[in-house]
Symmetry: C2
Subunit: 77 residues, 2 copies
């Protein structure tokens, strides 16, 4: 089975990467962009008996820094 994990900086945490993208888009003439936040997406290929609890443990222990990042998990069949 597969799982997709999104890891984003929490609201209120400065996102310099997103700001850089927003600035670059503005400089290229894309003036309809009000804000950009950039994060990570991690696609996991899992054994069939893996559960969402396993993925939550991976996020808490390795994939996300829960002090400044939040994560969401989508299990895909």
């Amino acid at each position: 089975m597969k799982a997709r994990v999104h890891v984003m900086l929490k609201n209120g945490v400065l996102d310099p990467q997103g700001e850089a993208v927003r600035h670059a888009l503005g400089a290229m003439g894309f003036d309809k962009v009000d804000g950009v936040r950039q994060g990570k997406v991690i696609d996991l290929d899992l054994a069939d008996d893996a559960t969402e609890a396993d993925v939550t443990a991976m996020c808490d222990k390795l994939l996300a820094n829960t002090v400044i990042e939040s994560y969401s998990i989508e299990m895909q069949g």
Copy 2:
């Protein structure tokens, strides 16, 4: 309106970041992980008259390196 863009390395392109995560998960005892691919997620806050075509142009020109990366766009209201 908002748009979410996923940028992933194309299949067949080596993903050292994903490999490092897979290896680290294995070393931590998570043995149900067969493979990991890591990519970027970019959340765009857009003016109300922005269209998916605008976002496609942003991806082609800046957000993705289409030689080695593929992207997908989800428009969110």
